[in-house]
């Protein structure tokens, strides 16, 4: 067998450059894909104690230990094509809301710190914020005092109150969410009597207005 010629310095340099080129190309296309995939996720609700979404996506390894720790089967890992990026934990409030366990077992189970393992109380959780999106369909706005969302809220009268208001000359009580107290557990959305809930939990980024954004792009 003829011994293959040892590669010259020049060959090594060319193949090294080629490899670096391909790695960069692979890296950039994957980055582009990841960026587009995570833009689509803004509606998914994260478990309690989750880091801000950008940090969460770097820390969560998609192990599902939080999912297994939840006694109510609230959480699940996203399958391909679901609203959260592949494999990440999320919940759908309308199906199963978070029951706000006092000891937050899901966050304590997280091995990576993607969920705050030292969260002092479930009241500090920030899964999202309830927003009355369906003014035109909410029964209270029609003058029928349904108020189910208020009645079921685990932090009733703090996170959500009934505010008397006069609208077009009629007196009504309007379910009003207070974002500093609302944890985004989704119990209100779950129990809204309409076929398509008039009150929904949205990630805070999506659900709250504000003065603007800081230079890092976060809402202030």
């Amino acid at each position: 067998m003829a011994k293959p010629k040892p590669p010259s310095r020049r060959d090594l340099l060319t193949s090294g450059a080629k490899a670096a080129g391909v790695a960069c190309l692979a890296g950039l296309s994957l980055t582009a894909y990841v960026e587009s995939a995570r833009r689509a996720e803004a509606t998914a609700l994260r478990p309690p104690g989750a880091l801000p979404e950008d940090d969460f996506q770097g820390a969560c390894v998609r192990c599902g230990l939080c999912v297994r720790a939840c006694p109510f089967d609230t959480l699940r890992l996203a399958e391909l094509g679901e609203e959260a990026p592949l494999g990440t934990p999320f919940f759908v409030a309308r199906e199963t809301p978070c029951f706000m366990c006092a000891d937050v077992p899901c966050a304590k189970a997280c091995p990576t710190g993607a969920l705050d393992r030292d969260i002092p109380s479930i009241r500090q959780a920030d899964m999202g914020v309830a927003v009355l999106v369906g003014h035109e369909s909410c029964l209270n706005y029609k003058g029928i005092t349904c108020s189910i969302c208020h009645r079921v809220c685990p932090i009733r009268d703090e996170a959500i109150t009934l505010e008397p208001q006069a609208i077009r000359g009629r007196r009504m009580v309007i379910p009003t969410v207070h974002s500093d107290k609302c944890t985004g557990c989704g119990t209100c959305e779950k129990h809204c009597v309409l076929g398509h809930a008039a009150i929904r939990v949205l990630p805070r980024e999506l659900g709250l207005g504000g003065r603007g954004r800081n230079p890092a792009g976060r809402a202030v």
């Binding site: 391909v22 890296g27 820390a59 390894v61 998609r62 230990l65 391909l80 679901e82 592949l86």
Partner: protein, 284 residues
């Protein structure tokens, strides 16, 4: 021709040693792979919670943390400050594979290996010979690209597409449309490139290979003088290039190349028992 399910590459071995001895390592590997999945699936399916989580990170018997080092490294590249539990878990796994051989992960744990082995078996049965050339180093470029993407996007980037995570997590937590990606890997190996995925592209295998570069447990061609040149080992091996130096060279009989899966398929296939599992010998 009689229809036989025996892999083409095992025929010599079966003829010489009988079915069981020509499948010994294959049986052990499949049992290990299925047990690894099985203990995780026993929780959701049967309520037997010996372990929780999945291959990415888990809690064994309620106290022992294990974490996949490749995903942990992506996390670190993304700039995450991982909690100690995950770091400890990744360290334990790393130490384990430094002993048993990095790509023993591929041969003994990874469920995609079952898929690609099956694709290869079928490929031989159907006599498909189309073999689009791919450089075996492509996986290193993909690995570099995955880490670069993690750095740039601040996410565990490969986990957006990783078929290995997709399959193991899918089997334990629900697969959804994820089977399409697995089917793509199967078809790649069946129709386009011999051992295309595990032998050329998968960055997980590449990462574990690098990790186990100096591993202790190695397959060795200890009786290479008995070799009859039947070619069965080259035919069955996912990474045939690793065999040549040990079998045909004059140096060490240990297979030192990090690409070797420590799968033992060569031991099974060889009709004259050239190979054995042993510990690393750097020189003859």
């Amino acid at each position: 021709m009689r229809l036989s399910l025996t892999a083409e590459a095992r025929r010599e071995g079966v003829a010489a040693k009988g079915w069981v001895r020509a499948h010994k390592w294959w049986i052990l590997r499949r049992l290990t792979q299925l047990t690894a999945l099985g203990v995780f699936m026993a929780g959701p399916l049967a309520g037997i919670w010996l372990v929780r989580g999945n291959f990415a990170s888990s809690e064994i018997l309620g106290f022992l943390p294990l974490s996949d080092p490749f995903i942990a490294v992506q996390s670190l590249a993304a700039g995450a400050v991982l909690a100690r539990v995950a770091l400890l878990g990744a360290l334990l796994i790393t130490l384990f594979y430094i002993v048993v051989g990095g790509r023993a992960y591929c041969g003994w744990i990874c469920p995609v290996n079952i898929v690609t082995d099956t694709a290869y078996w079928l490929r031989e049965k159907l006599g498909i010979t189309r073999d689009r050339k791919l450089d075996r180093r492509t996986r290193l470029w993909v690995l570099g690209g995955a880490l670069l993407a993690s750095l740039l996007s601040g996410t565990v980037a490969w986990e957006f597409v990783n078929p290995v995570s997709l399959l193991q997590r899918g089997l334990i937590f629900g697969l959804g449309a994820g089977w399409t990606i697995i089917a793509a890997v199967f078809l790649l190996d069946l129709l386009i490139t011999r051992r295309g995925w595990c032998g050329h592209l998968c960055p997980v295998g590449a990462f574990y290979g690098i990790m186990g570069k100096a591993s202790v447990v190695r397959v060795a061609a200890s009786r290479r003088e008995a070799c009859t040149n039947c070619g069965a080992c080259f035919q069955i091996c996912t990474e045939p290039h690793v065999i040549t130096p040990a079998l045909k060279g004059r140096g060490t009989m240990s297979i030192l190349n990090q690409d070797c899966l420590n799968c033992g398929s060569c031991i099974d296939a060889c009709p004259v028992d050239v190979f054995e599992i042993s510990v690393r010998r750097n020189i003859r």
